[in-house]
């Protein structure tokens, strides 16, 4: 009898004692997905990058306002349009104590760009470095990046790449790189429990971090855990229960509850994903511009944003997000006007209204149904069909081939915040993201010119002109740019969300 009561007491005591001691210096993030791999060069996945970025630094990085700032590189200059020289910061060490040298930079970049450079595999991130031809080591702290052709957005694209240690990669091999981490970031890996969590602890030998992002020095918290909680309700429940301190992808309808809870609050940031309805411009009813305009007048976008997205989205009349380079601020909006919509439909030959089918993937089902409900007053009967994302991509993003479908509610992300990553693929003739079959040679010419223009304001101007033309053609119904919503504990300080979905915890502290 006695033994079991002692055991019971012991168990209860340890259960109760546990939480208080450990929690003070352990920051936990409730995250939607697990990392696919811990090798910075072997994935093409935003969530993986978000997690890894805490353990690996890059030559440059972005601050919370999306400016490119130096990180491992102290400075850089463009010697000519195809040659960039980077000066490395001295005194940086990897987690294992070995120093970072230019040779590591060359190794990391070669690994990313050369065919079969990763134990027979090619890095999926290769095309993120565009026309990078060669990396030359000038001395221990200087490298030169040589491009095949002028590429003004090189600095904007470099934050996506992180540096690895050549010695480490050679020691653990390609397969080992998926799990063994040796970076220069503010945290080092403790354990990766696949599917469950990524556990990191503070690297005390950290060089301090990007000089333009205060404070410098080692990380504030001792330990960071990314807990994988894919289920929305469970993730929010974990935040409300105090199990985690930050959650991403906070559903809009739970904003109220998180705000109402005294220990939590909501942080929002303008997203980089534009939502739109791709319309088939080649065949079917939407080939007629009047029908497309009619649709624009029939959908009350503001109502949907207010009711379904809780107001957490910014309407847009073009493909570029409101903060993007070259955004045309004067694009005319197609006002919600039911009569106008019906009149346009009648003009186009549909006096009794038009029945169409809208394809959507499971995640956007609610919005599609809302649009359908709202548009019915404007003469459109929209039948929503839910399909799998991959199948819909095959049907609509046909690179010029005929499109099988009428409307597709979808979105396009623009992680680099540069128009070339969104405008070109979605609107250039037969480009890989052009899901409308849209083709306008004027727009193509403007986009091509902007690609090679080095002057920033001239580039912006070219994109603005293109947006104006596209707005008149209305190949797609442009909806909104949703905000990224994060739920955070009130104990958290020193952290702001970032439009590129990064969760960099270097400066995050727990009270």
């Amino acid at each position: 009898m006695k033994r079991s009561t002692t055991l019971l007491a012991l168990v209860l005591a340890s259960a109760l004692a546990l939480p208080t001691a450990m929690q003070a210096q352990e920051l936990r993030v409730g995250f939607t997905l697990d990392a696919l791999t811990l090798d910075p060069a072997n994935h093409r996945n935003r969530e993986t990058e978000t997690i890894i970025r805490n353990m690996f630094d890059g030559l440059v990085t972005r601050d919370s306002d999306m400016n490119v700032v130096p990180e491992l590189a102290e400075s850089w200059t463009a010697i000519d349009p195809t040659t960039y020289e980077f000066k490395l910061r001295p005194g940086v060490t990897f987690h294992d104590g070995s120093p970072l040298t230019a040779a590591d930079v060359k190794f990391s970049l070669d690994r990313l760009t050369k065919e079969n450079a990763m134990g027979g595999q090619t890095s999926p991130r290769q095309s993120l470095l565009g026309p990078l031809k060669e990396v030359v080591v000038v001395d221990d702290l200087t490298v030169r990046l040589i491009l095949e052709s002028a590429w003004p957005i090189l600095p904007a694209m470099l934050p996506f790449q992180e540096l690895v240690s050549q010695a480490h990669v050679e020691a653990v091999g390609q397969e080992g790189m998926a799990e063994a981490v040796n970076g220069t970031g503010p945290f080092k890996l403790v354990e990766w429990r696949k599917g469950d969590s990524v556990i990191m602890e503070r690297f005390d030998g950290y060089y301090g971090g990007a000089t333009d992002i205060a404070p410098l020095g080692k990380a504030c918290v001792e330990r960071v855990i990314f807990k994988v909680i894919p289920e929305n309700s469970s993730r929010v429940a974990a935040l409300l229960a105090g199990d985690v301190h930050i959650i991403n992808s906070l559903p809009t309808h739970l904003v109220g509850q998180v705000e109402a809870n005294p220990d939590t609050t909501v942080m929002a940031v303008n997203g980089t994903r534009t939502s739109y309805i791709a319309l088939n411009n080649q065949t079917g009813p939407f080939a007629d511009i009047r029908v497309r305009h009619a649709l624009a007048h029939a959908v009350d976008r503001q109502l949907i944003v207010d009711k379904i997205l809780n107001g957490n989205a910014a309407l847009t009349n073009g493909i570029l997000s409101p903060d993007a380079l070259g955004k045309n601020k004067n694009l005319p909006a197609y006002e919600y006007d039911v009569d106008k919509a019906k009149a346009l439909l009648a003009e186009a030959g549909f006096p009794d209204g038009l029945e169409v089918t809208m394809d959507v993937d499971g995640a956007n089902k609610e919005i599609a149904e809302a649009i359908s409900a709202v548009a019915s007053k404007g003469g459109f009967q929209i039948n929503v069909v839910v399909g799998e994302g991959s199948m819909l991509t095959t049907r609509y993003r046909t690179k010029g081939e005929p499109i099988d479908g009428q409307m597709w509610l979808t979105s396009w992300g623009n992680g680099s915040m540069d128009p070339v990553g969104i405008f070109v693929p979605t609107h250039r003739t037969a480009d890989r993201g052009n899901s409308s079959g849209y083709s306008n040679t004027e727009v193509d010419a403007l986009l091509d010119a902007a690609n090679i223009e080095t002057d920033r304001s001239k580039r912006a101007d070219l994109y603005s002109q293109a947006e104006a033309i596209v707005n008149a053609d209305l190949p797609k119904l442009y909806l909104w740019v949703a905000q990224d919503l994060y739920g955070v504990s009130t104990k958290l300080t020193g952290w702001r969300p970032s439009p590129d979905s990064r969760i960099n915890l270097h400066d995050a502290c727990l009270k």
Binding site: E231, N232, S233, V236, A237, L240, P251, H253, L254, G256, Q257, L303, I304, K307, I308, G362, K365, E366, A368, E369, A370, S372, A373, V374, V384, V385, V386, G387, E388, M391
Partner: protein, 301 residues
């Protein structure tokens, strides 16, 4: 050709009819079973008469009614007794119409699966030889697939939608009645009236369909009702994973799925359809339990 009715055959069928009727009377004597049978029939009636009983059109969406609470709560409205969903559609009406989907899928899948399974099982159990080997191998292979994974893979192949769900579930479901029927057929192949029929020159299909089949109907009936409940939950699980019926069609499973991210506050979106699933499946299970008790000779006190 078989216009002659054999005496043994007659007696055999006459015997089994009486037994069947006797067992059904036993079933009817259990108040519990009858009560839940009425509930089940109530759901069937609900499904058939849906347009007449539902207070609203299940697809009638109004964003201003979004997430309206049930009538007895603050802000509720008695014309929407169970509240409204994320698009302002009446939950009660959607539950009523949703019964059509659940019952349709439950009944259709079981009908298709049982028909195929019974025929396959009869053939395997009676004809033996190559037929048996092929069918048994196929059964083994299909059983080696976890149910949901097979269904998901099939739907990935064919696309979602009511028809495809029925097929995806039926594809694996038939092996269960098949196994039962095969076992029973093996057991009855040697029975006297079958031997007699064979001696009289009856064709194989006649024997299978006229002699053996009527005698194994009871276990098939019991298994079918049990499986029907299971299939309804499977359909709900598929909808939950996003592979269910197309909007605006409401299936209880997809209603629970749609409401699950609202569970923390607007609990009524998922709770009521979940209760509907529970009640229907429970009723079918009680009925099937009653059938089993009635048909199992060991429980005749």
């Amino acid at each position: 050709m078989t216009t002659v009715t054999y005496w043994t055959g007659d007696a055999g069928t006459a015997k089994s009819e009486t037994l069947f009727q006797r067992n059904m009377k036993l079933f009817a004597s259990s108040r519990l079973s009858m009560f839940f049978l009425f509930i089940t029939l109530g759901f069937v009636f609900m499904a058939i008469a849906a347009p007449l009983i539902a207070p609203h059109d299940p697809s009638d969406a109004d964003l201003f009614r979004r997430l309206l609470p049930p009538a007895w709560m603050d802000g509720g409205d008695w014309s929407f007794p169970l509240g409204c969903d994320a698009l302002g559609r009446d939950i009660l009406s959607r539950i009523i119409f949703g019964s059509r989907v659940s019952i349709f899928i439950g009944v259709t899948v079981i009908l298709v699966a049982t028909t195929i399974g019974v025929l396959a099982g009869l053939a395997a159990g009676y004809l033996r030889g190559w037929v048996d080997i092929v069918i048994s191998r196929l059964v083994d292979i299909l059983l080696g697939f976890p149910y949901l994974i097979f269904a998901i893979a099939l739907i990935a192949m064919t696309g979602p939608g009511l028809q495809n769900i029925v097929l995806a579930l039926a594809y694996k479901e038939w092996v269960i009645p098949c196994r039962v029927v095969r076992g029973e057929t093996l057991a009855t192949s040697g029975v006297e009236y079958v031997e007699a029929a064979r001696a009289m020159g009856a064709s194989k299909s006649d024997i299978m369909l006229r002699e053996i089949l009527p005698n194994i109907l009871s276990p098939v009936l019991v298994v079918s009702t049990v499986r029907m409940a299971h299939v309804i939950i499977l359909e709900a699980s598929l909808s939950f994973l996003g592979l269910g019926v197309q909007p605006p069609m409401a299936s209880w499973g997809s209603m629970v799925a749609d409401g699950r991210s609202f569970m923390l506050q607007e609990w009524w979106l998922s709770t009521f359809p979940g209760l509907a699933i529970l009640l229907l499946v429970l009723s079918i299970n009680v009925v099937s339990q009653g059938l089993r008790d009635a048909f199992d000779p060991r429980f005749h006190d």
